[in-house]
Each structure stands twice: as structure tokens, then as C-alpha cells.
Amino acid sequence: MKQYLAIIKRDYGASGGETFWLPAPIYSLIIVVLITWLFASSSGSFPAWQFLALSILGAYRILDDLSLSRGHSFGFLAPDFHTYQFNYSTSLVFISSVLTCAIFANSFYEFFVCLSVLWLITSSMFFFVRKEIWRLTGFIGLGIYILIWFLMIYVKQNEYFFSLWQKIVTSVWSIFSIPAIGITISCVCLAVTYKSFLLARSNYLKPAEYDPNLAPRTWKKHRKSSNFTPLQLFANARRSSKTWGKIESRVLFGLDIGRHEDLLYLGLFGAKVHSFLLKCIFGFLVVLFALPLFFVNEINHEAILIPICIFMLFYLVVVCTAISLEWIYNRKSISDLWLLDNSKNRRRYMLKVAMLFAERIGRVSLFACAVFMLFTLIISGVKGGLIVGLVALLAVALGLLLQMTYVLFVTTSVKNTAWLRYVTVLFTAFNFIGWLAVALFSLQQKQYWILALAIVLAAGLCFTSIKFWCGYAKELRA
């Protein structure tokens, strides 16, 4: 028992460590809560695909931990470590799936059917833990993520897809409505699950070579890895395609262009893992962002702006959080790079460094705004497009000012604690969403003074923080 307690403690500790990832037990709990909420909000007619998608995501995250023991020597040499880790992850999948099925099902029969289908899917996922098939996993993982997002956004917008999806769900569900068939299918599912589980177990516990490159992010600090987080899956898939690499380098032109020779810039941001992470997020979101283009002719033009706007906000929040955290984590190198820079004095140097951050975060945000404006021009015409685009630009500009204030304050005053990353995520989200709401409200209600006041306030705060930053006389520590 003490081994399992040690693993649980480790997981909770890891969440406060170096990554965005929540520990698997919390993650599974969130999935359960989310499903309950969706179930309640859909007043009893809970869509099966959402249930399945969320459950699979939960299981996927939990199984991600299985790759832990492949990434460092302790996992190999501690007695029975693999077995304990396997049992722990399996139990979590078991408990969370039972809970979600219990919430979802209206009867014992439904519970049984759901559980058997869910276990069949999750047990097959155990095979993806091994390194040999990580590339395949990468593509499958990427596919699942794109599909989930696609369904979440388009199914309700597009009548054709919606009805098609409904038909599929209804016909599948109608098969299960006959108890004899349902129970037979479920029993077959359980039998296959049992077999595949045993196979996966023996596959996992089979001796394997120690590969430090497999060390997952949740366990190690700032190391590249081949684990199974969605971003890594994307990166794996990305690396295997030359064409994709070319596309990405074109898309990323706004991020590093003209800075490849700047030593200070490279020292601060070059070859750091968060830059890598950022590219992955960026590339991933660009794919999602481009998807509406395929359906422009099929649905209401105005309605398509909503998902694009959501994507833009999502993109901004994720990318700005990543850049902010990258900066906060790398703050120690700011002190070191002082020796290499040719600034007149430290004040000038600090200003230069702050401007580099502003430039980096500004470039990606402006790029997002430009893409968004392009969409609005295509969809709403020149006049409407310009208005919507300018509102977005205004909101982003305000958001950047406050983001800068936050980051400069945190860099000098807050220690790298467990909650810093979550606070940064929340702050960034509220920052952009809040300013967008302010900009929309003041323009719609023609209360321009609110906007003017917001601009003055944000600019004032930013100016003060830069002034404080330039005069900061203490050493910056990681």
C-alpha cells in the first residue's frame, strides 16, 4: 500500500513542479465533474459522443503516466515499480470510468453497456504506452483531438453534419436498445477487453531498455521527451512530415524573423523548451483555425465568425500564457546575459530585455489579429470586417499591455511556485476575454469614454511596471 501512497504523493508533487499538467487523479475527477455538468445542462439527453470523448481523454491522460517508468533509472531498478505504476494507472481508469458511467447511465443496463464499451476503448490504449508505436500514437492522438474540436464546434453549426451525426448515434443506440443484442455486444467487449488488458499488461511489464529521452514532462524539468501528452503527440506527428515542417516555418514567420542573429534574443528564447512548446501549440491552433475555410460555402457566413473568434481567443490565451511562462522560467538567464550585452548600463539593458519580451508577445498577437481580420474581411465584407477586426485589435492591444504588467511584476516579485502557472493561465484568460468584453460593450453602447479610460489605465500600469522593471536592483532568480 505504501508504494501506491508514494505514487499518489509523487503525482501531486509533480503538478506543482514544472508543467501545466494536473496529476492524473485530479484530471479524472475533473472529467467526472465535467460529464456531470454536461449531463445536467443537456437536461437528460446527454450526447454519447461527448461522454465518450471526455472519458477517453481522461483515460488517455492517466495512461500517459505509464510512460513514466520508462524514462528514468529508478523505474527500472526499484523492485516491482512497473507493476505498481501499472496497477495504479489501471485503477484510476477503472474508478473514473465506473463513476462517469454511473453518472451517465439511467439504468443498470445502460451502465453495463457504457462501461464495457469504454473499457474496450481504454484497454486498447494501453498498447500505446510502448515506444515502438509512439509514431502511430501520435497520429491517432492528433486525429482524436482534431475530431473532438471539430465536432464540438461544427456539429451544432452545421445542419447536415448534425443530422448525419444524429443518425449515426441513433442507429448505434437503437442496436443497444435491444437488451439481448446489447448484452451480447457488451459481453464480447468485456471478453476482448480482458484479453487485451492481459496482453497490454505483459507487454508493459516486459523488460525494455532504459531510454532517458522518454522521460515525461511531468517528472522532469525542461526536457524534451517522447511521451504521450497531446502536444508531444502533435510534435511527433509533425517531425515525421517534411511538408508540415515547411508549412510550419512559413506560418511561424512572425515569431522569430529578423532575430536569428540577435544573441540576446537567442539567449533568452532560443532553443528553450517553451519555444518548442509554443511552436507546437501555434501550429496546432493554426490547423484548427484554418478548418472553417473548408466550410465557408456550406453554412451561414456570419455564424462562422463565432468559432473563429473563439479560436482566436483560445489561441491568444494559450500562446500568451506559454510566452509569459517561458519568460518567467528563463528569468535567471536575464542576469547571466547581462555580461554578453553591450548596453550602456543595466537600466538600458533591462529596458532592452523587456522590449524583446514585448516584441515576442506582440508579434504573435498581431499575427493572430491579422489572420482574424482576414477572415472577417472575407466573411463580412470590407466595412464589417474592418470594424470587427479593429475591435479585436483594440482588445488585444489592451490585453498585451496588462499582460506585460503582470509578467514584469511576477518576474521580479513572485517565486516559481505550484500555483504560478495556473494563476498565469487564469490571468491571461481573464485579461483577453475581459478586454474584449470592454471593447465590445463600449463600442456597442457608444460609451467611448470607457474605452478611453481602459486604454489610459492599461498604458499607465504598463508604463509604471516598465519603469519599476528598469530600476530593479536585485538579482533575478529562477
Partner: protein, 300 residues
């Protein structure tokens, strides 16, 4: 398997038989044979890239040999049982995990997986090494991390301790006290120890045996004293010009100028000194070499 082989297996805690290991076609270990006897302390010496880390990892079953056999406590290292793992301790070159933990948390976590984890012993060793067990590992210096890693490996009093360059990041005083600790552990608990290092003085201080590795092959395995007796430098002063000795397989290095010469020879036998003197019609003096000199000569 006959009885004497069985006895050998019992007395050897670690055995590598003709082990080959390559990475992506590039050979790293080439037919390595190595044995570590129960209670012995062996230093593994080799240049950078000679395959020391690969050898240690292969010996522990962290890597699978392409060919050959690796046995730990007479059990295949690749398929080691949990019981055998209980008897093992390993210190990697760098602490390869848990940077967000404090040493205290790390020891508690590690201890959960070992039956005979001795928290009191770890605590007293930590005090001795002046390790603050409440600060995060990520905030520690490289040397402190190394010490933490050593404590992590010692907590369950392993019968075999394998250390990959354990003193590389330690300062001279910490290094010296660590070596002393290693000797004490060996004497008190009869722990067999295999450690790799670049620092020959540490091997001389801590180990009785040595294995020298060059380009994935073991050049020498045996006692340090025997090695020192076998590899010496001889100074020759002859009345006539010296003959060419470069083709002699015993000569590792030679420097001949006219009627004087300086040779480093392997497999030197003091009994043969007279024969040499007569053969070369010269006066020969023998110079004992330090382990570092021997290492350099053998790797030249």
C-alpha cells in the same frame, strides 16, 4: 553446469560474459568480460566515450546486450527479479529525476519500494554530508544532487552498489569523505562496489581491483598492485646502439635515442631483468609507475 561453475556464480555478484552492445550500428562494447566478486571494490577506468556508462547500464539490465550474457547474483540482468533489485543500488552520473522534490520527499518515495529501507541511516548520512533535506533538488548544486543520489542508493543497504562517476561533481573534501564512506560501507556490510571514475587517486584509495576500458574492450581486470607490478617503465643505458624493440608485444611505448632508451612494458617480470641486461648489453633500471601513468600508457 558443473559444481565449480556454480561456486563461481555464487561468489561473483556481477558477471559479464562476452558482452557486445552497439547504438545504431556503432559498437560501444566489444566482447567485454568482467567479474566482480562478493565484497570486492572495483574501479572502472576509461577515457571519455570508452563505454563505461554503457557497461554499467548493461550490467544492471538497463540496456540489453546485443550479444553475450550479463548476470547479477547469478540471475540474468535483463530479466532481474524484484528480490534481486532489492539487493541493488545504483547512482547514475546525474540525478535523473524528481527535481521538484526535496531530498526528504525523494527518500520517502524511494523508501516505499524497498523492504529494508533505513530512514535513520539515511538521515544520519545526510547530516554527515551536510545536505539540507528540506530544500528542492532543483535549487541544489550539482555536488549536492550527487550526494542526494548517493544517499538514495544507500538507503536500503544494497549488497551490490554500482556508481557511475559518483565523485565527478564533488569538491575534494566531499570526495575524500565519500571515498571513506565507501570503504566503511564495504568493510561494515561487505557490500560489493563497482564504480567508474576518471580520478585515479580515488580508485587507488578505495578499490583493490580495477578494470580498464578502452574503445569498448577491457584492457585489464585485476588487482591494482598486480597491475603496478606488471606495467613499469625501464630505463636502458647500453654501451652500443640499442636494437629496435618496437615489434616486441610487451613494449607499450618506446623512446630510443642511440644507446639509451626508455620503454614502458607490460607483463614485466623482474626475474627476466638479467636476461634483458645480457641481451642488450646494458644497464637497466626499473621505474614504478603511478596508476595515472599506467592508464595513460595503456591508452596511448
Amino acid at each position: 553446469m558443473n559444481l565449480s561453475n556454480m561456486d563461481n556464480l555464487e561468489s561473483n555478484v556481477l558477471t559479464l560474459n562476452d558482452v557486445y552492445k552497439s547504438y545504431e550500428g556503432k559498437p560501444v562494447l566489444q566482447g567485454v568480460n568482467l567479474t566482480l566478486k562478493k565484497g570486492a571494490v572495483m574501479g572502472l577506468l576509461g577515457e571519455n566515450g570508452s563505454g563505461k556508462t554503457t557497461l554499467l547500464k548493461t550490467a544492471l539490465g538497463l540496456l540489453r546486450p546485443n550479444r553475450g550474457e550479463t548476470l547479477i547474483f547469478a540471475e540474468d540482468a535483463w530479466n532481474m527479479s524484484a528480490n534481486t533489485k532489492q539487493r541493488l543500488g545504483y547512482v547514475a552520473q546525474t540525478l535523473d529525476c524528481f527535481h521538484w522534490m526535496t531530498p526528504q520527499e525523494l527518500f520517502m518515495y524511494t523508501g516505499a519500494f524497498y523492504q529494508n529501507w533505513d530512514a535513520i541511516k539515511v538521515k544520519s548520512l545526510a547530516d554527515k554530508m551536510h545536505i539540507d533535506t528540506t530544500q528542492r533538488i532543483s535549487n541544489m548544486s550539482e555536488g549536492q544532487r550527487q550526494q542526494t543520489s548517493i544517499l538514495q542508493a544507500l538507503g536500503h543497504s544494497p549488497e551490490l552498489l554500482v556508481l557511475d562517476e559518483p565523485v565527478a561533481s564533488l569538491d575534494p573534501s566531499a570526495r575524500r569523505s565519500f571515498i571513506k564512506e565507501l570503504i566503511d560501507i564495504n568493510l561494515d556490510e561487505q557490500t560489493s562496489i563497482l564504480f567508474s571514475t576518471h580520478i585515479t587517486s580515488d580508485i587507488e584509495r578505495a578499490a583493490a581491483d580495477i578494470a580498464m576500458l578502452k574503445a569498448g574492450k577491457v584492457l585489464y581486470q585485476g588487482g591494482i598492485d598486480e597491475l603496478k607490478e606488471q606495467v613499469v617503465r625501464i630505463h636502458i643505458a647500453s654501451e652500443s646502439n640499442l636494437a629496435d624493440v618496437s615489434s616486441d608485444p610487451l613494449v607499450l611505448k618506446h623512446q630510443v635515442a642511440g644507446n639509451t632508451g626508455r620503454l614502458t612494458v607490460k607483463g614485466f617480470d623482474v626475474k627476466g631483468l638479467d636476461v634483458w641486461e645480457k641481451q642488450l648489453n646494458a644497464k637497466i633500471t626499473v621505474e614504478q609507475l603511478s596508476l595515472e601513468d599506467i592508464f595513460l600508457e595503456l591508452n596511448a
